[in-house]
């Protein structure tokens, strides 16, 4: 018997380990949830790990999945073993090439972490919508349902692809399998060797294009032969199922793990059978076991090879006793006769003479919706009905189409032998990392099997994480979250007030709380529902001030080690001493390479933990009267309370279909209702020190620092602590001035304090704005904030927008986003919203900004008091420029038509009004105000007009007021995937404004290299440091001569940023602003990140300029260089950022070489721009 080689890892790593070994070329592009496979491959390649043939695979990042697919096609044609990893929209972009690759009978395997497709909304979570969209490409579709299977099938797929010549798409469920950590038996190099036949590899090689034996492939064919040629491949597809089964059998002989194309599990005499594929197999498998033990005649048919669909094998796999089948699809095909798997099964049954069977189809698990034994039981129960429901849904409440099956959520089949633990952590506190480590310790140092699955919030800052851990003596198939936990840990005390943390605790379970209170004081601090649950469920309750222990051990906010020790100390999963030894061993192993100090502080934390862990004696009665905090503020709109509020409170699963918008349209201005209270400290304004420069408000990434200027009577009724002082600006003489912080929306990043330029005359450590503890200020400042919001906004016509101190009085229409603490992008969006938000349509590329801008529940895009504000939408990642251009073209056409109508109705409407409407330049706020007045008058007139065209004009009247189109996104979009479109849009001459928030990496997917990444930076897919220089997008755009281009960095020169935004908007043509956006992926101190921006500019790494084609008209050089000559070496800037410094840790020699080249880049760039900006310009007039 082959000896097992156990390891605990997630599905992505399990697949990547095999794929890396079996390929020579790996072409990738980041997309969730598959990115990690490419990242592993890149890291292994960078570390020189060889493949099965003892050569290091080449890993190449492309500009898009379409590009990756093209590169794969080429590499395959040139005869290399080639693979890729992708998901969702990425897979869709590969489809054109997939037809080609399959049509040419080319052996390859694509590994797909299956994910939802963007429809009414985008989702990063798992289902089979993407895979189902490829089922006509000719790729074989092989489904794995667990981490072990994903690992195994990666090999079987490769072996089969080589033998069949049919390309394979191997897929597994995004997140559920790609991110689940499980203990698996690892394949050895010997296993791989035994399964991969080099003769087939050489045959693949021999089919390659070569000038030494030239052929023509990729012809254009005519009606005479295309059809016949398309049918030539049939024998290969016909042979494929047999070959796959043979490979599975060979695999079984090697490893002992048996797989079938259609794998039946259940009662031999089952009458009811569920058919499905993916991770749902596992939950169905264990539910069937449970129900069989109850005497039920049920079974599950797991579909492994979905394409080519072997109808005979399918029918043969069913027990002869079967009477009814439920075919479950993890996808939706609106308007179809049924979802794909269902339709295939019906066909198979019909064609094999089983048309007497009852077959129903149903949908489940879209976007990682839970699929539990309770739901599976309900599906079996449905089959037991005399007329089972067809085309049902399970897991939701569809009160619109009445499609949903009801189920009993309390039904559970969790085994007594399995320990189930749930951990509530605060993002980035180390909880998830600690739990991953715990799984490894238990999985690899005991005979137990272990499983970990993790939930993450959609917010990037201050988010909740939930870890679900199972341990037990048998392989764990429970592919769903834990609802019967015998251990619950809450790592942040504030969660007790927001979520029903103990809802999933079993009676007699253990509850561990990290709180800043001792065992005596803690009870009375608990909210009522928590006290009730502890008493009613007879929980054992432990408390530790883990944050203090961590802090005192030098761990900062990282409570990982502390809470991990607590878990082992009280859960009893392992003997305590043995567990502590294992943790210490793991610490040594994990942190040794990072240094003695890191090991020492973690070991110190271990030693300090136990003496600070206390069991709480439970009183017999409830003492608290405090309930859970409502998810949204009182008085919020009903939709916000009922729908968005449920999502915020983690009750979104209970929302019924009827409660959700039919077309994905949601109200804006909703983030104001979600008070997150993240900040331990908030800024406090010192009105007597402040010089009213407005910089603090300008840089605030979350728009929590607000400024208002108003007349004194407005102060009537102000709370006692409300601060106001005389406005210093000479144009606002007699006005009052207030800077107010939104205390419950502030994230506490401190960037405002860092930027504040003034210091108290008597104490240099006191600025005009200073961080102070939030809790004692919360009530007072909440009242002040509420009063502040009632103060009138200053008439926009009175604001000189070219001066920051005045401009910052404009109301932000982008507020309280879920972006990272200290985000470098959001201040630009906020500025845009202040200046032009009331007249802008925003096309937002997928990425960070589409997530903090548009990820449910709430949106930061807001409305002003007149109800105007940015209208926002996200199309795709790759098409954002085109999406925005479409908006512009539509607005222009509507304006043209409205103009025609106005002219036709001029005499009726009044020639003066029409002339004024059509000739207004709308160049400033006063003009726009006047135009709005005219449009209001026009609408009044139209409303009473009998002219049949009046109705048409009325619907278009608003376009007569200036409308901006802002096309916004990150560098991944603008430099890479969307560059072709962006280039076309810029060249179109249309009046669109493009804002590229340049973080120089794919920030949203975790810091992968883009073409904007500067030379010498370490990024994912550039582990060894990026060797090529950054693309100069601005210079490319300038080469047209007709595009307004600006490069800005708010932290270096805020006035220049402001000027660029104003000029870009005013330019009657395409404009491009490239904005330096510091990012958490730079490895910097986010509080002082504006200093990094300054250093980037001071070193010449980031040049500031404005290129305004309008200047040509006045005989001036269009390029104004706003940067001064570099005054610090670029090395000094690079040393401020871990992305550069890391390279000196990993590859010091390369780091030195690239730093030298980076300086040369700077020097050459400066010389070129200096020349361009100082050229004598001929007056062309």
């Amino acid at each position: 018997m082959r000896e097992a080689n156990f390891l605990t890892l997630d599905g992505n790593e399990a697949v990547a380990r095999v794929a890396f070994k079996l390929n020579e070329v790996i072409a990738i592009y980041p997309i969730t949830p598959s990115s990690a496979m490419g990242e592993w491959a890149d890291e292994w390649a960078a570390n020189g790990q060889p493949n099965l043939w003892n050569t290091v695979p080449t890993v190449i990042e492309m500009q898009s999945e379409a590009g990756a697919a093209g590169a794969i096609h080429g590499a395959l044609q040139a005869g290399s073993l080639t693979t890729t990893f992708t998901a969702s929209q990425g897979l869709l972009l590969m489809i054109p090439n997939m037809y080609k690759i399959a049509g040419e009978l080319t052996s390859t395997v694509f590994h797909v972490a299956a994910r939802s497709l963007a429809a009414q909304g985008l989702s990063i979570y798992g289902d089979h919508s993407d895979v189902m969209a490829t089922r006509t490409t000719g790729f074989a579709l092989l489904s794995s349902g667990s981490v072990q299977e994903a690992h195994d099938f990666a090999l079987i797929a490769q072996a089969a692809a080589l033998e069949t010549r049919v390309p394979f798409l191997h897929f597994f469920d995004g997140f559920r399998t790609s991110h689940e950590i499980n203990k698996i038996d690892l394949l050895t190099e010997g296993d791989l060797r035994a399964m991969i036949d080099d003769t087939l590899v050489l045959q693949h090689r021999a089919r390659a294009l070569s000038p030494d034996r030239p052929v023509l492939r990729g012809t254009a064919q005519n009606p005479d032969v295309y059809f016949q040629a398309r049918e030539t491949v049939n024998p290969y597809y016909a042979a494929c199922p047999d070959i796959v089964q043979e490979q599975m059998d060979r695999f079984a002989a090697l490893t002992g793990r048996e797989y079938k194309l259609f794998e039946y599990h259940g009662a031999p005499d089952a009458t009811r059978v569920i058919v499905l594929m993916g991770s749902g197999d596992e939950a169905a498998h264990e539910t069937v076991d449970y129900l069989m033990a109850q005497g039920e005649k049920v079974g599950v048919l797991k579909v492994r090879l979905y394409r080519p669909f072997d109808v005979e094998r399918f029918a043969a796999a069913l027990p002869a006793s079967v009477e009814s089948l439920a075919v479950l699809d993890r996808t939706k095909e609106p308007g179809s006769a049924g979802e794909p798997l269902y339709v295939d099964v019906v066909t198979a049954l019909y064609e094999t003479g089983h048309s007497n069977l009852t077959v129903v189809g149903g949908r489940y698990g879209l976007s990682s919706k839970e699929f539990t034994p309770a739901m599976i039981k309900a599906v079996f129960d449905n089959l037991a009905q005399s007329k089972p429901k067809r085309h049902f849904t399970i897991g939701i409440n569809d009160d619109v189409s009445e499609s949903s099956l009801t189920y009993d959520p309390s039904f559970s089949i969790e085994s007594e032998s399995v320990t189930r633990a749930v951990f509530y952590g605060l993002g980035s506190d180390g909880t998830v990392g600690a739990n991953k480590n715990t799984i490894k310790i238990i999985g690899e140092s005991t005979d137990n099997y272990a499983q970990g699955y993790f939930f993450y919030d959609s917010k990037k800052s201050g988010s909740i994480t939930i870890s679900y851990l199972r341990f037990g003596p048998n392989p764990i198939r429970s592919t769903y979250q834990i609802t019967q936990a015998n251990f619950i840990a809450c790592h942040h005390v504030s969660f007790l007030e927001r979520y029903d943390v103990l809802a999933d605790a079993v009676s007699g379970g253990v509850f561990l709380l990290n709180a800043p209170y001792g065992p005596e004081a803690i009870w009375d601090r608990l909210p009522q529902p928590v006290q009730e649950a502890i008493i009613a469920k007879h929980l054992k309750f432990f408390v530790i001030n883990g944050s203090k222990v961590a802090r005192e051990s030098g761990m900062g906010q990282h409570i990982n080690t502390v809470m991990q020790v607590c878990f082992f100390a009280i859960s009893g999963v392992l003997p305590k001493d043995e567990a502590i030894d294992a943790i210490k061993h793991s610490i040594e192993k994990t942190y040794r390479k990072k240094g003695e100090e890191i090991v020492a502080m973690n070991l110190a934390a271990v030693d300090r933990t136990l003496e600070n862990l206390f069991e709480v004696s439970i009183p017999d009665h409830v003492t608290s009267q405090r309930g859970l905090t409502p998810p949204v503020v009182a008085g919020a709109p009903i939709f916000v309370q009922d729908v968005l509020g449920a999502m915020i409170a983690r009750r979104g699963d209970s929302l019924a279909v009827s409660q959700l918008p039919v077309d994905g349209t949601y109200p804006t201005g909703t983030s104001q209702y979600e008070k997150r209270n993240l900040a331990e400290e908030i800024p406090v304004w010192e009105s007597d020190i402040c010089i009213q420069c407005g910089k603090c408000a300008m840089v605030c990434p979350h728009a929590v620092i607000r400024i208002k200027t108003y007349e004194e009577p407005a102060l009537a009724g102000a709370p006692e602590t409300f601060k106001a002082t005389a406005a210093r600006d000479t144009e606002w003489k007699g006005f009052q001035y207030t800077i107010q912080v939104a205390p419950e929306d502030c994230t506490g990043c401190g960037i405002c304090v860092d930027i504040c330029p003034v210091k108290s005359k008597s104490a240099a450590n006191v600025k005009a704005i200073n961080m102070r503890p939030q809790p004692p200020l919360r009530e007072q400042e909440r009242a002040n904030w509420e009063f502040f919001t009632t103060l009138p906004e200053l008439d926009r016509r009175l604001i000189k927008t070219t001066s920051i101190r005045q401009q910052q009085v404009q109301q932000p229409l982008f507020e309280f986003s879920g972006a990272c603490l200290g985000c470098g992008e959001t201040p630009y969006l906020k500025l845009l919203s202040q200046l032009f938000g009331d007249r802008s349509l925003i096309a937002n590329a997928t990425g960070c900004s589409s997530i903090y801008g548009g990820n449910l529940p709430t949106t930061p895009w807001a409305k002003n008091t007149e109800g105007r504000g940015p209208a926002w939408s996200n199309s795709l990642f790759e098409d954002n420029a085109e999406f925005g251009l479409g908006m512009r073209v539509a607005l222009d056409k509507q304006t043209e038509y409205a103009t025609e109508l106005l002219k036709r109705m001029s005499s009726e409407l009044g020639d003066d009004l029409v002339t004024a409407l059509l000739t207004s330049e709308q160049k400033d706020e006063a003009d726009i105000y006047d135009q709005r007045e005219r449009v209001a008058l026009l609408k009044d007139k139209l409303a009473t007009s009998q002219n049949p065209e009046a109705r048409l004009l009325l619907a278009l009247a608003d376009v007569l007021v200036k409308k901006d189109v802002w096309i916004v996104g990150g560098d991944g979009w603008a430099y890479d995937i969307g560059f072709g479109g962006l280039d076309h849009v810029l060249a179109s001459g249309r009046n669109v404004n493009v804002l590229v928030m340049d973080t120089e990496v794919y920030s949203n997917t975790g810091g992968q290299m883009s073409k904007s990444t500067p030379r010498g930076a370490v990024a994912k897919f550039a582990s060894g440091g990026k060797t090529a220089p950054k693309k100069d997008l601005g210079l490319i755009a300038m080469s047209y001569g007709s595009i307004y281009v600006a490069r800005v960095a708010m932290g270096a020169k805020d006035e220049q940023t402001l000027r660029a935004f104003i000029e870009a908007e005013a330019f009657n043509g395409p404009s491009l602003i490239i904005a330096y956006s510091h990012c958490i992926a730079h490895g910097i101190n986010m509080t002082t990140a504006m200093k990094n921006q300054k250093a980037a500019v001071d070193s010449g790494q980031w040049l500031l300029y404005r290129y305004n084609p309008d200047r040509v008209e006045t005989g001036e050089n269009p390029l104004i260089l706003d940067s001064k000559a570099p005054k610090i070496p670029v090395k000094e800037y690079m040393e401020m950022e871990n992305r550069f410094k890391m390279l000196s840790f990993s590859k010091p020699t390369v780091a030195k070489e690239l730093a030298t080249l980076a300086q040369q880049d700077v020097d050459q760039r400066w010389a070129m721009y200096e020349y361009l900006a100082n050229r004598e310009w001929q007056n062309r007039k």
């Binding site: 997140f175 980035s428 990072k594 100090e597 210091k759 997530i851 920030s1003 992926a1081 000196s1144």
Partner: protein, 345 residues
Amino acid sequence: MDISTTYLHKTLRSPLVVSANPLTEHIDNIKRMEDAGAGAVVLYSLFEEQLRQEQYNLHYHLTHGTESYAEALTYFPEPIHYHTTSDAYLEHIHKAKEAVSIPIIASLNGSTAGGWTKFAQNIEQAGADGLELNLYSVPTDPSLRPEEIEGGYLVTARIVKDAVKIPVAIKLSPFFTNVGYFAHQLDQLNVDALVLFNRFYQPDIDIETRDVYPNLILSTSHDLRLPLRWIAILHGRLKGDLAATSGIHTAEDVVKMIMVGANVTMMASALLRHGIDHLQLVEKNLRQWMEEHEYESVSQMRGSLSQQHSEDPSSFERAQYMRALTTFKMPTQSYSGEAFWGLPE
């Protein structure tokens, strides 16, 4: 003429030793120092805080924001091996040893007995001929008793001394209530040399921005008085060697220090100001001076004017202070207060 000397149990060709400074960051410079006649080179200092902070920073940036948001569970690829500053330092020792034949002395700068002292062993393994430990702290806690501070220094010195077999020199600050007592305490730990004295880089203040900022001012020959006095006092009373540092710029400075008892005289500011070849000039002038004054060897000169051998031992004590004051002459007009303050004359 024999200008060789002994230091840290080694014979050096010259008493001119390069003390820790940024020039030693480059192997080429170290070669030039050897070529210019340096007796030994003390490498640039690795700071305790630097070792710690580097590890903390790297760890912080590799973990900050991770495992929090589903699409970006990490932000950086993790290398399988890190070449930290300390690795680079060890590599530097190794390269320096390969490049030159004069002794290479590594330098650690710290104040507490932390895990970093293990690093001393790594330095030894990398081939350093000696280790200079720079004990330096600025105690700002008024409740911290002097004996705690000095005790801490001694613990650190002992740990490092015990950890390695190569000679250990301790570089001290002059700010002890009794420098002699503390020197004796160290001597009892068998430290191999004392380096007198460390020059503190005192912060300065920018009155426009109201910021405090570090401001390095190179030494001048005036700065040698303090080590001169204490080397004179300590010479002949300790088992270990004495190295003079601070304010050594000329051959005359070297002569003075050797006369009061220094085994070696260390230079940094002079080289930063005049270049590495300045060593040649100083050696030339030293030889010339010795020839003119008929000295045969440096060892003949060493300690000839120490307190023990001084005609007037009290001249190194408080009485000298009084004498200095009473013989002080007002500076000439160009140094008058009015001129200095820019007032009308």
